[in-house]
Amino acid sequence: MSLRVFPSFAKSLFTEKSTFRFVFAVCLGLGFSMSVILCTIGIMDGFDQTLREGLKTTSGDINIYTLHHHAKKSDFEQAFKRSGVIDFAEILQMEAFAVANDISKGGLVKGIEAQKFSSILKNKFSLNEGEIIIGTELAHALKLQQGDSISLVFAGSSESLGGLPRPHVLKVAGVYDFKVYEHNQRFVLMDQRFLQDVTGMTDLINVVTLNLPQDGWDKAMPYLQRVEMLLATLKRDLGRGYSVRPFWKEYATLLEAVKVEKFMVSIVLQLIVVISIFNLLAFIVYLNERKSREIFLMRALGLASRNIHRIWLITGFLIWLLACGLAAIFSKLFGLILWNLEFFKLPGDIYHLGRLKLILSTDDYLLVFGLTFLQILFFIYLGLWKLRRRPILHGLRQEFG
């Protein structure tokens, strides 16, 4: 019944410009409040995902580190065979000083087999003997560009000089964005064979990075669960001399903190929505006062209080719907600004990432929009409960007398 009378009711309510402006302001306020929550959640999800993506640019799903020794490639064969791991790349990893243009910086050199490493990371790394790839921040700090020369100094590499470090002059084959600030600042990729030769560690490695088996029986399981299962298997098979870690382990505490913070901030930010809903409530009270002539006339003509409530609920629902649309637009807009405007570039040494991406899932939208809708329902009922006590005759006489 109330739905059929709604167009006439709405027409009589929204004829004045002031009412239109008021309802638009309410929608705008509500939409903006919801977008604040969405953007906060989106930034945190974006941080989480971008950081994970960044970590994956130099790592497979799982990394194995030797703890007290260097290993041979054959040391992992049995364990990988048992676990079904076929996608893996061995790395010889060590600290070194990078020196160029009278500036020196500490770096982490990863000796890789370019083809295997590229296949694991789904990135194309091309390296020849005597060439290296460095991170963007390291290149910036050492004032280097592609094609420049750089000296890498490894510890105790020269027996003829009594164990003193000896520099090796290499060519910068590429400057690569490893996504994570610290990685860009420290990572140096070079040919594994060459690194083994210059450090005297022929055939030795100390890190293996690997991806989950593609055709495992557990393929239907969630990704994280599969990683955890393979971790446990590899730990058991490899024994005590190895540290087996998932790729996000380096930032696990931070990621956990972001997750907790996301939840807490979302709860706190609901307060902003409550404030906006007060505006909606004020709008309903305003309309009830300003349009009481129409409302009382309709009640006199047989519109039950219950139906008036229903009409207000429909009004609230439509405002909510419009506000949801506005919130989605605001969030997308903010996401674009965040990603593109120079002003929003972050200091990577503090936030690990230079840029934040806004990532919102359907669940995020449903959560924010759903909670707001419940709050709207609650406050509308509260407001209507206060208003319904006024008798029709009293209203008619007051309004038309």
Binding site: R4, M298, L301, G302, A304
Partner: protein, 221 residues
């Protein structure tokens, strides 16, 4: 004839002020009654209590021997929508919608088939000489036309009773006579009871049955 509506020892108080002080009243089906009285005598209060727009402070109002006070809010709303046709003094038309939409409003509220209501209303509008007013907005037509639109709205759902509160209060004597004549005619046509509240003796004199109210009581029948 069946008694449609009955008020039994009805009192109505607004704070300390007693608007009705024990009124007994009844109306039969298709009966036409005038309630006459000076301003503040309680005649409009009685009319609105009969129409279910308010509840008595004491006493009862019966609709076909059912107490209105026992009706739930939704039943009372349905009673106002289906059984009662209100004709107000100031016609109370919504200015933001057309006259036709104003007439169809009770139908929309009651969930009636508005197309059927419109088909039923058009010949009546022609009969009342306001057919050309239907697409217009209330402010675009004269006071007499507005009152006829008001009457059309009141009878749009074929109510059992027409409750008219000073229906000619805003009209000149020529139009007043026409409106009362029209109301009586429609009441006969639809076999609807008619209660007209007025302070005007010339209007009340047109009714064979009339009540006179003073100080919240019916003092003469």
């Amino acid at each position: 004839m069946e008694t449609l509506l009955k008020a039994s020892n009805v009192k109505k108080k607004y704070g300390e002020y007693e608007a009705l002080r024990g009124v007994d009243f009844s109306i039969l089906q298709a009966e036409q009654v005038a309630i006459q009285g000076a301003s503040g005598s309680g005649k409009s209060t009685l009319l609105y209590l009969l129409g279910g727009l308010d509840i008595p402070s004491f006493g009862d109002i019966y609709w076909k021997s059912k107490k209105l006070s026992d009706f739930a809010d939704s039943d009372l709303a349905r009673y106002r929508n289906e059984q009662i046709g209100f004709v107000f003094q100031f016609h109370f038309l919504l200015s933001s919608i057309s006259c036709l939409q104003n007439i169809l409003l009770p139908g929309r509220i009651g969930g009636a088939n508005v197309q059927e209501v419109e088909e039923r209303i058009r010949p009546l509008a022609k009969y009342l000489g306001v057919e050309q007013c239907l697409p217009k907005f209330p402010h675009q037509i004269s006071g007499g036309e507005q009152q006829r639109i008001n009457i059309l709205r009141a009878i749009s759902l074929h109510p059992s009773i027409l409750l008219c509160d000073e229906p000619t209060g805003n009209l000149d004597s020529k139009n007043s006579g026409k409106v009362i004549e029209l109301l009586r005619e429609l009441s006969l046509k639809f076999k609807a009871s008619l209660i007209v509240v007025t302070h005007d003796n010339s209007i009340a004199s047109q009714f064979s049955k009339k009540h006179f109210m003073s100080d919240g009581k019916i003092i003469e029948q």
